[in-house]
C-alpha cells in the first residue's frame, strides 16, 4: 500500500471501570464524587481506535497519528504514562472539563477547532478515529459532530475492521443489529471511523516507545490550551444511582445435581 495517512484519534480519559461511581451535584452541575481522585484510563473504545490507528500507520510509510484529547492536564499526564508505552503518537492535549455530564456539542466544537489547526495535517488524507461511544456520556455523537464540522460526509460507526486496497479505497465493517456487520467500501480518505473493539489486542508495553513519546508529551501538556465548555441550554433535572438492589440467595451446600435440576426448572419457566 502506498497510502500515506494522517490519522487523528480523539480520545478522552474515563474513571477506571473497576471504580465505584457516585454522582454529586455541585455549582457547575452534576459530576462524579471525587472524580479527580479516581484512577483514570484512556476511554476503552477510543483506545481500540488508537491501537488500530497505530497498526494502520505502521503498514503505510509516511503516515502519522495524532492523539487529540480533551481533559484535565493532571489526568492526561497520569493516563499518558501508561498509554505512551503502547504505540507512537503525537499528543495534542486540550485542558478542559471532561466527563459524562459535559455537553457533547461543546466538546465537539473544541475538538474540531483543535484538529483544524493541526500543523502539517493534510485534510485530504485524514482519517478521523475515535470510540463510537465514550464510557462516560456514551452518546455516540461527538465524533459525528466533529466530522460534520470538518466537512467529512463519509462516516462509519461501530467499526470493527478497516482494510485498505491498492487504489486507496477501503472496506469497513460496522456493527449493526442482530450481531452482524455491515460491509461498505469507501473510495478513500477523508473519513470518520468510530471504533468498537476492533480486532487487535492491547499492545504490550514498550519502554522505548514510552520514552520517545514522553519527550514530546510532557512539553505538549505544559503548553495545553485551556478550553471552557458552554452548557448551551442543557439542564440536568436529576442525576442518581439506580435504586434497584436485589436480595441475593446464596446457595453454598447444593450438589451439582440439585443445582442443575433447579436451573432446568428456571430456564423452562415462562
Amino acid at each position: 500500500m502506498g497510502n500515506a495517512l494522517h490519522v487523528v484519534v480523539c480520545a478522552g480519559t474515563v474513571p477506571d471501570p473497576l471504580q465505584t461511581l457516585e454522582p454529586i451535584t455541585g455549582p457547575n452541575g452534576p459530576g462524579v464524587k471525587n472524580e479527580m481522585m479516581l484512577p483514570a484510563v484512556l476511554d476503552p473504545w477510543a483506545a481500540s481506535a488508537l491501537y488500530e490507528a497505530a497498526n494502520l500507520v505502521a503498514r503505510n510509510p509516511g503516515s502519522k497519528v495524532w492523539l487529540v484529547s480533551l481533559g484535565s492536564k493532571a489526568k492526561l499526564q497520569q493516563v499518558m504514562m501508561a498509554v505512551a508505552q503502547k504505540v507512537s503518537f503525537e499528543l495534542v492535549p486540550i485542558d478542559g472539563p471532561i466527563g459524562g455530564f459535559t455537553d457533547a456539542h461543546a466538546t465537539a466544537a473544541v475538538l474540531a477547532e483543535a484538529i483544524a489547526a493541526l500543523p502539517g495535517l493534510n485534510r485530504e488524507r485524514l482519517l478521523l478515529f475515535g470510540g463510537w461511544e465514550s464510557a462516560t456520556r456514551g452518546a455516540g455523537v461527538t465524533l459525528q459532530l466533529v466530522g460534520e464540522r470538518l466537512g467529512i460526509i463519509d462516516q462509519f460507526q461501530g467499526v470493527d475492521q478497516i482494510e485498505f486496497r491498492e487504489d486507496g479505497s477501503f472496506e469497513v465493517l460496522e456493527r449493526v443489529e442482530g450481531g452482524k456487520h455491515q460491509a461498505s467500501v469507501c473510495m478513500g480518505t477523508p473519513a470518520v471511523l468510530g471504533w468498537a473493539t476492533g480486532n487487535l489486542a492491547e499492545p504490550r508495553n514498550n519502554p522505548q516507545t514510552g520514552m520517545a513519546n514522553m519527550r514530546t508529551i510532557m512539553p505538549a501538556l505544559q503548553k495545553a490550551k485551556p478550553a471552557a465548555l458552554q452548557a448551551d441550554g442543557l439542564h440536568y433535572i436529576s442525576v442518581a444511582l439506580p435504586k434497584q438492589h436485589r436480595t441475593t440467595r446464596i446457595e453454598k451446600d447444593m450438589t451439582p445435581d440439585a443445582i442443575a435440576r433447579e436451573l432446568v426448572e428456571w430456564i423452562g419457566a415462562e
Binding site: 454522582p23 462524579v32 476503552p44 455523537v141 467500501v185 442525576v239 436485589r246
Partner: protein, 341 residues
C-alpha cells in the same frame, strides 16, 4: 408551540422497522401531551412502501424515496433526514437508536443548528420535555432538558409499544433531496463466522462465560477444550445467547488458553453490549463488568461461582450457586438433553 417529527425507516422487507413503529407511538403520545403538531417522516427505497405505511390520524406524512436510500449510508441518510427535518420544520425530532439513524442524526442536528441526545429510555415532563438516559455505561441515571431547538431525541428500542393501525389514508408528500457525490457503497451484511454463538437479542436466556473457564481447575490443569464443549452444548440445548467478560475475550491476544468461538462480538459490559434478555446465567465470572454493567437490563439473574464472597454478585444476582461450573454444566446439559429426547 412544539412541532414534532417522528423519523422512521423501512427494513429489507419494505416494512417500517419495529423500532420505528415504537417511535411513532412515542411521538403521538408526546404530541398529544404537548398539544403539538405531528409529522411522520419516512426514508424508504420506493414510494409505494411509503404510501402504505400506517400513520397516526391527523399526522402529516413526508417521505424521501429512491434507490439511494435502500442502503444505510451516512451521506445519503444524512441528506434524507436533513430534508425531512427541514420540510417538517420540527422543533422536536424523535427517532430510534438503531444503527442506521444513530450513525447520522448527530450530523443532521449540527446541519440544522440543533442538539441531540441518544439512548433515551423515557420522555417525561408535564409541560416541557424531559429526557431520561444512562451515563457512565448504565451506572448513573439522569434526567435532562434542553432549551435549544431542534432537539433530536433518539429512543432505545422497547420503551414504547409498536404503533398499530391500518394503512394510512393520508396523502404522502414526497420531499426532494439533493444528494452529495456518494463515495461509499454498501456491499451487504456479514454474520461473523461464529454467528450462532454471538449475542442474539431474540434468545430468552443470556449465558455469560467468565475467565474462570480457562483457568487451572482443582486438578491443577486447564480444561479449555472441555469448557468449550460444555458451553456450546448448553447453547445448543437451551437456545441461549452467549456473552463473555472482557478478560476472557482478551486472553486470545495474550497467548493464554482461549475458547476459540469467542470474539469481541460476545463481549458484554463497559466495552461490549448491554443486552436485554429475560434471564441471565453467569458462570466463572468475577468482577463488576458482567454483574453490573452488562446485566443492567437482564430480568432474572443467576450465577455459578466458586467464590462465596464475590461482592459483585451480592445485590446484583437473584441466586448465586457456590459450585464448580464444570460439574454443574455437565449435569445441566445431561438433564436438558434428556428433556429434549
Amino acid at each position: 408551540m412544539e412541532s414534532i417529527l417522528a423519523l422512521t425507516h423501512v427494513d429489507e422487507s419494505g416494512s417500517l422497522t419495529k423500532a420505528s413503529l415504537e417511535i411513532v407511538t412515542a411521538a403521538a403520545e408526546l404530541a398529544s401531551r404537548l398539544g403539538a403538531s405531528l409529522t411522520m417522516g419516512i426514508v424508504a427505497p420506493d414510494a409505494k412502501t411509503a404510501a402504505t405505511t400506517p400513520a397516526p390520524a391527523g399526522a402529516r406524512l413526508l417521505a424521501v424515496t429512491g434507490e439511494a436510500f435502500a442502503q444505510a449510508r451516512y451521506a445519503s441518510d444524512a441528506a434524507a433526514c436533513e430534508a425531512l427535518c427541514r420540510a417538517a420544520q420540527a422543533t422536536i425530532v424523535l427517532a430510534p437508536t438503531g444503527s442506521r439513524f444513530a450513525r447520522v442524526l448527530a450530523g443532521v442536528a449540527y446541519r440544522l443548528g440543533g442538539v441531540i441526545d441518544t439512548h433515551l429510555t423515557a420522555i417525561g415532563g408535564a409541560e416541557s420535555v424531559e429526557a431520561t438516559r444512562w451515563f457512565y455505561r448504565q451506572r448513573i441515571e439522569g434526567i435532562l432538558s434542553r432549551e435549544a431547538r431542534p432537539w433530536f431525541l433518539l429512543l432505545e428500542a422497547g420503551t414504547h409499544a409498536a404503533f398499530t393501525a391500518d394503512s394510512a389514508d393520508a396523502q404522502v408528500e414526497q420531499v426532494p433531496v439533493e444528494l452529495p457525490a456518494l463515495r461509499t457503497t454498501v456491499s451487504g451484511l456479514r454474520a461473523p463466522a461464529q454467528g450462532a454463538q454471538t449475542i442474539r437479542p431474540d434468545a430468552k436466556l443470556l449465558f455469560v462465560a467468565g475467565a474462570g473457564w480457562t483457568k487451572k481447575q482443582s486438578d491443577g490443569k486447564v480444561h479449555a477444550a472441555e469448557a468449550g464443549e460444555l458451553i456450546l452444548g448448553f447453547l445448543r440445548l437451551a437456545g441461549a445467547s452467549l456473552g463473555s467478560s472482557k478478560s476472557l475475550v482478551d486472553q486470545g491476544g495474550d497467548g493464554q488458553p482461549v475458547l476459540p468461538f469467542l470474539t469481541h462480538m460476545n463481549q458484554i459490559g463497559q466495552t461490549g453490549a448491554t443486552p436485554r434478555h429475560a434471564k441471565g446465567l453467569s458462570t466463572c465470572c468475577h468482577g463488576e463488568e458482567p454483574h453490573v454493567v452488562g446485566w443492567r437490563f437482564i430480568g432474572e439473574r443467576r450465577a455459578i461461582s466458586l467464590d462465596p464472597n464475590c461482592g459483585w454478585t451480592r445485590g446484583k444476582a437473584d441466586v448465586v450457586y457456590v459450585a464448580d461450573a464444570f460439574e454443574v454444566m455437565a449435569k445441566l446439559n445431561g438433564l436438558l438433553d434428556a428433556h429434549k429426547g
